[in-house]
């Protein structure tokens, strides 16, 4: 690449008064100097927490073991008949397994290897330098939690690498246990500051106590930045996943229990132009189980090294003060008279932490830099839904330019280099596996389904081969559409509500909007208690682009919906279909809650699809699971434990059928029909 180009200014939405962000390329310098010299350079962090203490691994362990919480838990268990010695040994074992070390020599190894890999597979690694400097000054003042998006394994070391690059204090990273068992890599990650936590341990009181104190010790005593993934796992779909509040609640406790004056949470949005795992994710979402993390699996992925994965954009967002966010939502004075280790978070406190989680995801989304490819995928998917596998290049450029313009005006930051045409060409080069420019001047979408990959995993596919031929390609497209969907979801849901009601009062429209927002609340991220704001945002976008009008408290659909509305509905249609089929399947009988229902719903979706109808991404198990969660929460089914001890989902006829009815109506009122 043109290595010397260090700075790129991304245009931001006009009219919002924000200055344009300066992104600089981390690799530019690396392309011109020795990686070895870079890795062994004199390194000292600048920006350490002013009240932080350096603690060794041993000191952290002692601090955890001596903590009131762990001591109390041990004495409780001793009362229950367990042996104190054994328990203390257990704590030590947990700590050995969990504990991180932070060894600058390991960091240096990564500092040597990572640029080598990155230079090979990525064009540029762009980061907003201003965000880094803000982060540095925040780090001095208050303990910081870093919340990066999780879209790829590559996320793992990226933040640490950035810290090394900018001489920031190195983060301590919460990692899932599955990484630990990876040969060499597991230990290297530990050495670079990762600590390992089991996937589920809520019922193990001792583990829970040790884990909490471990996290609190890092945040409160060392003041080292703590990094974890709010979404808990890599999002296969490319969308934000609902926040996991375990760790967030744990760190919030520092403030909730008055142990720290404040805590800053910094959103970090990592936007990959091309995701390393794009195809794996597609298969996984369709029902091919994920291979276990192993080093050999990683080595197999070395074929990756031959490919071009485009650019990465990293936005370090503004810090959110835990205090400022939580203070209006909680009553700290109610718990202060209880020793803090004996005062678990109350229900309102947990709920406030959940709000914080959603708020942070929203902040993360706002930092995302959208690639032109995501915008292109919206059109490519639409082409597929008309039964075509190709379209003229010029049409794609025009459509993309139109939507880019619109997106920018509603707040998107889009990485357009040169003109749109050049960007589209560049994207087709990077994503040539998915769509490429033919010599006939048309863009040809590729059929990605690969028999060998599906069968080597040895599990039987429930989907038909014909479905998979369409589905894998569409799923990959959907992955990239999903990366921009957070910008569209509010006007899209409004459009969906409006098209189903035609002309309606503001109030009815709002109530339909809120219903849909609640129904799709796991697939898309909405802040809690922000229904009104979301509604107004959706409505104002649609009014602003002239496709809806408000006359005396009545909202009108202008000319049956315009180009933008059709695009939005098209984007939503796989979700509507998935939810409709899931609801109808749920309504049909009582289900044992063991995945049968998910499979049956997927089958129901498959039966609605015909080649050439598009919407194959409705087969995503992710959406089906989200739909079930939402339906259960909305009272469409009740969870009952039968005499055989099995948990069953029993449809609540009245509410489930009314939901089915609304969804059916939505499908019928859409421009494109399905065979139902």
């Amino acid at each position: 690449m043109e290595g010397a180009v260090g700075h790129t200014a991304l245009s931001e939405p006009s009219g919002q008064g924000k200055p344009t962000c300066q992104y600089i390329d981390l690799l530019a310098e690396r392309r011109q100097s020795s990686d070895l010299r870079w890795a062994i350079r004199e390194w000292k962090s600048v920006g350490d927490y002013k009240y932080g203490n350096h603690l060794t691994r041993k000191e952290i362990f002692d601090h955890v073991l001596q903590s009131d919480r762990v001591q109390h838990t041990i004495s409780q268990l001793v009362e229950g008949g367990k042996d104190q010695e054994v328990l203390i040994n257990e704590v030590e074992e947990i700590l050995e397994q969990m504990g991180h070390t932070q060894d600058i020599s390991v960091i240096r190894q990564f500092a040597f290897v990572l640029p080598k890999i990155m230079k090979r597979i990525y064009g540029k690694v762009m980061i907003n330098e201003e965000g880094i400097e803000k982060l540095r000054s925040t780090l001095v003042e208050t303990p910081v939690v870093l919340l990066p998006t999780h879209r790829s394994y590559a996320d793992f070391l990226l933040v640490s690498y950035i810290a090394y690059h900018f001489n920031l204090p190195l983060p301590v990273i919460a990692a899932g246990m599955d990484f630990m068992s990876m040969a060499v890599i597991g230990d290297k990650l530990r050495g670079s500051g990762a600590f390992y936590i089991r996937r589920s341990f809520m019922d193990n009181t001792l583990y829970w106590a040790v884990f909490q104190e471990y996290v609190l010790t890092i945040v409160e005593c060392t003041g080292a930045p703590l990094e974890f993934f709010l979404e808990g796992t890599r999002s296969r779909s490319g969308k934000s996943l609902p926040p996991k509040i375990g760790l967030l609640g744990c760190v919030s406790e520092c403030w909730l229990r008055g142990r720290l004056p404040d805590l800053a949470i910094v959103p970090i949005s990592i936007s990959y132009e091309r995701t390393l795992e794009e195809k794996l994710y597609a298969y996984e979402l369709l029902g091919v189980p994920k291979p276990k993390e192993s080093t050999s699996g990683l080595l197999k992925a070395t074929s990756i090294l031959k490919e071009n994965y485009g650019d990465i954009y990293i936005t370090v967002g503004d810090a959110v003060s835990v205090r400022e966010f939580l203070e209006p939502l909680v009553d700290r004075h109610l718990s202060v008279a209880t020793p803090s280790h004996l005062a678990p978070l109350s229900r309102p406190e947990l709920s406030a932490c959940e709000s914080l989680g959603y708020h942070m995801l929203r902040k993360i989304q706002q930092g995302v830099v959208t690639s032109v490819w995501s915008v292109m995928c919206i059109h490519l998917q639409r082409v597929l839904s008309t039964g075509q596998w190709s379209l003229p290049f010029d049409t794609l450029v025009q459509e993309t330019a139109w939507l880019i313009d619109l997106l920018k005006r509603i707040g998107a930051v889009i990485s357009v280099e040169g003109g749109v045409k050049e960007s589209v060409e560049r994207c087709l080069e990077i994503h040539r596996e998915v769509a490429r420019l033919g010599e006939d001047g048309r863009v040809h979408i590729q059929r990605l389904y690969n028999h060998s990959l599906a069968t080597t995993n040895g599990t039987k596919m429930s989907l038909k081969g014909t479905s998979l031929i369409n589905a894998v390609t569409e799923q990959v497209l959907q992955h990239y559409i999903n990366k921009v969907i957070h910008l569209l979801i509010r006007p899209a849901l409004l459009s969906l509500a409006l098209i189903s009601l035609h002309t309606t009062t503001l109030e009815k429209l709002k109530s339909r909007f809120e219903f849909l927002r609640s129904l799709f609340g796991y697939d898309f991220i909405f802040e809690k208690n922000a229904e009104g704001r979301d509604f107004m945002e959706g409505l104002s976008v649609m009014m602003w682009c002239g496709e809806a009008s408000l006359v005396q408290d009545h909202v009108h659909l202008v000319q049956g919906g315009g180009r933008f509305m059709k695009t939005l509905l098209n984007v939503l249609s796989p979700f509507v279909l998935a939810y409709f089929c899931t609801a109808r399947t749920l309504a049909s009988q009582e289900w044992v809650d063991n995945g049968e229902l998910v499979a049956a719903s997927q089958l129901a979706v498959e039966n609605c699809l015909t080649p050439g109808s598009g919407r194959y991404s409705a087969l995503s198990l992710d959406s089906i699971r989200h739909a079930l969660r939402a339906l259960t929460r909305m009272g469409a089914a009740t969870r009952i434990t039968g005499e055989d001890g099995k948990v069953r989902l029993k449809p609540v006829v009245q509410s489930v059928s009314s939901i089915v009815e609304v969804l059916g109506h939505l499908i019928r009122s859409q421009p494109l029909k399905h065979k139902l």
Binding site: Y51, E141, G258, R259, L260, P261, D262, E327, D331, R332, H333, V336, A337, P339
Partner: protein
């Protein structure tokens, strides 16, 4: 400069004071102040006539340090005595320096060579940028009196002293919060008391309260006027006449019972008079809040005050045996003077801490103690605040507190240093300690070290033993005894620090203190978090120069009292009082969130009312309201404090 306006003021006062001796430590009581009334506005002005109430024989003529016309001795728009204040001087072609005037305090008539540079550095003060306060108001500047003629007539008939003069009314319209003093300097209260009355004893109070009920006027009791909770402010929405019930003329010790070591005292007596009179007989009450020069016994009871030497004598609730108070419903009394009572909830507690909302305290039976033979100061320096705190915890754990033990943080340590009279750098350490200190000084960082000040009282033997115990405990956590002089200066500064605020005002500095009580395990985090919150709030508001400091002033079995000082340079801010209040609100939220209380001894008044519901439950608040409803159904005591 402040000095020039003060000079005008002084000539006025000198005229008033003409018939009296120049230095007036035991200056004439109200009755002698006849000539001072001035104004000639037809208000009755016959001086105090000791109206012999039919039921008591008058005890000997009371001596009050503070005259009825308080403004003759005290600043009308700031803290304390007129003759005591910080002054800024400019040496020819040289720098500015600061001195403290008057001879009432040990710091008096001394040049403070380090202070000017400290304020410049810490608070960004520019000494050539001075904003003097407004001159005293002219008669037409005061809000007009709402007069209830029948009430006035009745007072006249009863022979109860009163005044509707602006100066008298204004003096009783406020306490000493930052906001109140700021108004005095730059504005005028929208509402001030319409009348001031001075009942001379309990039975006159009964008559005043009855008359107030009969003529539907509101009463706000006034003791020493040192409130820092907005308790004396007149509610703006009060449409009835507001009468300030000044208790200062009820200032006699009625009797001292030497067999039981108790004394019956009228509630208007101020701390320094109480001590002077008791000590003349060989006794002490031992209650010394920082305001004790001016604050009154009734005020202590009404706010649940705490004294510096509570470790020996107890807080006010420990000192009081009987409280007599007049409510619109009648008189609250406990007849027995037995040392403890198991007779249902203590109804005296309806009055203790009631902040003038239920009635007015008229007489109190206090415990007294023989004056101790030895009173000695001491101090210990610690390498940092947390080791100092560890020592405090140990002292409380072993219950070996001396009369007073206070731990100042590093900022306050440096501040104390800045107020040192001219001496060498090592002058703060007494000679005997210097060597030990020097050998170990390498371990101490001037930017983290802090100091605990100590006050011992008792027999020589007791005191020596106490000193040994404290020193042992201090050594265990790395502390070093640092001599008497440091300790004494620490306590002297407590009284002087209130004067500094008036100087600050002249140069764009506003300052205030606030306090709390907190369990031991949360003291450290509370101090840290509150200071952090104040700093970050300042930062948000673009306040560059600020001084945030705390000290632990009392220790208990289960926790401690923490006292914060906060000052900032408000040049460039449009409404410093509002900014201050916002920041203090933040600080109080932080305090409550960190396990601290709404107040340890300042009380609630109006400025902390919003946190009552986070302090006690709705049912508990309801009980308070019900009690108020019983005692005072027509809300005669309409200060609006507390609830």
């Amino acid at each position: 400069m402040a000095a020039s306006s003060a000079r005008d003021r002084l000539t006025v006062i000198r005229r008033h004071l003409a018939p009296h001796p120049r230095d007036s430590d035991l200056q004439g009581h109200g009755g002698q102040a006849e000539g001072a009334a001035g104004g000639g506005d037809g208000v009755q002005n016959k001086g105090i006539q000791w109206q012999t109430a039919s039921d008591t024989t008058p005890p000997p003529h009371p001596h009050t340090t503070i005259p009825r016309k308080r403004q003759d001795l005290l600043k009308w728009n700031g803290w304390g005595y007129q003759d005591s204040k910080f002054l800024v001087h400019k040496e020819k072609d040289k720098d500015y320096y600061v001195s403290f005037t008057g001879s009432r305090y040990k710091i008096g008539n001394l040049v403070l060579p380090h202070f000017a540079s400290w304020v410049k550095e810490t608070l960004g003060v520019k000494f050539d940028d001075c904003t003097p306060p407004q001159p005293p108001p002219q008669p037409q500047d005061y809000p007009a009196s709402i007069i209830n003629q029948e009430f006035l007539d009745e007072m006249k008939r009863l022979g109860i002293e009163m005044s509707i003069e602006g100066e008298d009314r204004l003096f009783r319209a406020h306490g000493h919060t930052l906001a109140e003093v700021f108004v005095l300097r730059e504005g005028m209260f929208p509402r001030i008391p319409d009348v001031v009355v001075w009942p001379g004893n309990h039975s006159e109070v009964v008559k005043v309260v009855a008359a107030a009920g009969k003529h539907n006027v509101a009463l706000i009791p006034f003791g020493g006027g040192t409130s820092v909770s907005g308790a004396l402010l007149c509610p703006e929405e009060e449409s009835r006449p507001i009468v300030s019930l000044d208790t200062s003329q009820m200032c006699r010790i009625l009797w001292v019972d030497e067999k039981n070591l108790t004394a019956r005292i009228e509630a208007g007596i101020i701390g320094q008079d109480l001590e002077k009179q008791l000590q003349a007989r060989g006794y002490t009450a031992g209650h010394e809040p920082d305001s004790y020069e001016f604050s009154s016994l009734g005020g202590w009871v009404a706010t649940r005050a705490s004294g510096m030497k509570k470790n020996v004598y107890g807080n006010i609730e420990d000192l009081v045996l009987q409280v007599r108070a007049v409510t619109p419903r009648g008189t609250i009394d406990r007849y027995t003077a037995g040392p403890r009572l198991s007779a249902g909830p203590d109804t005296q507690n309806f009055i203790m801490g009631s902040e003038g909302t239920m009635g007015v305290v008229t007489e109190v039976t206090l415990k007294v103690r023989p004056v101790p033979s030895v009173r000695r100061y001491g101090s210990v320096v610690f390498p940092d605040f947390s080791s100092g705190l560890a020592c405090m915890r140990q002292v409380a754990f072993h219950r070996c507190q001396p009369a007073s033990i206070r731990l100042m943080d590093n900022q306050q340590f440096k501040f104390g240093h800045a107020l040192k009279p001219p001496t060498g750098l090592m002058g703060l350490l007494s000679d005997g300690i210097k060597k030990i200190y020097l050998t170990r000084i390498r371990g101490f960082d001037l930017n983290t070290m802090c100091v605990a000040t100590l006050l011992f009282e008792g027999s020589e033997q007791d005191v020596a033993q106490q000193e040994r115990r404290i020193n042992t405990l201090a050594l265990e956590v790395g502390g070093i005894p640092a001599g008497e002089a440091n300790g004494e200066r620490g306590y002297m500064l407590t009284f002087v620090i209130a004067y500094i605020r008036d100087l600050g005002f002249d140069y764009g500095i506003v300052a205030e203190s606030f306090e709390t009580s907190v369990p031991w395990d949360r003291v450290a985090t509370l101090c840290h978090n509150v200071k952090h919150r104040v700093h970050s709030q300042c930062q948000e508001r673009g306040i560059k120069h600020r001084f945030v400091t705390c000290r632990v002033t009392q220790t208990y079995d289960a926790g401690a009292c923490v006292y914060f000082y906060f000052a900032f340079n408000y040049r460039g801010l449009s409404d410093p009082v509002h900014v201050y209040e916002e920041i203090e609100t933040n600080a109080r939220n932080e305090i409550l969130g960190c396990g601290g209380s709404i107040s340890h001894h300042h009380g609630v008044g109006k400025v902390r009312r919003q946190w009552m519901s986070q302090t006690i439950s709705e049912t508990s608040l309801g009980a308070l309201r019900a009690v108020k409803q019983y005692f005072d159904p027509d809300n005669i005591f309409a200060s609006g404090n507390l609830i």
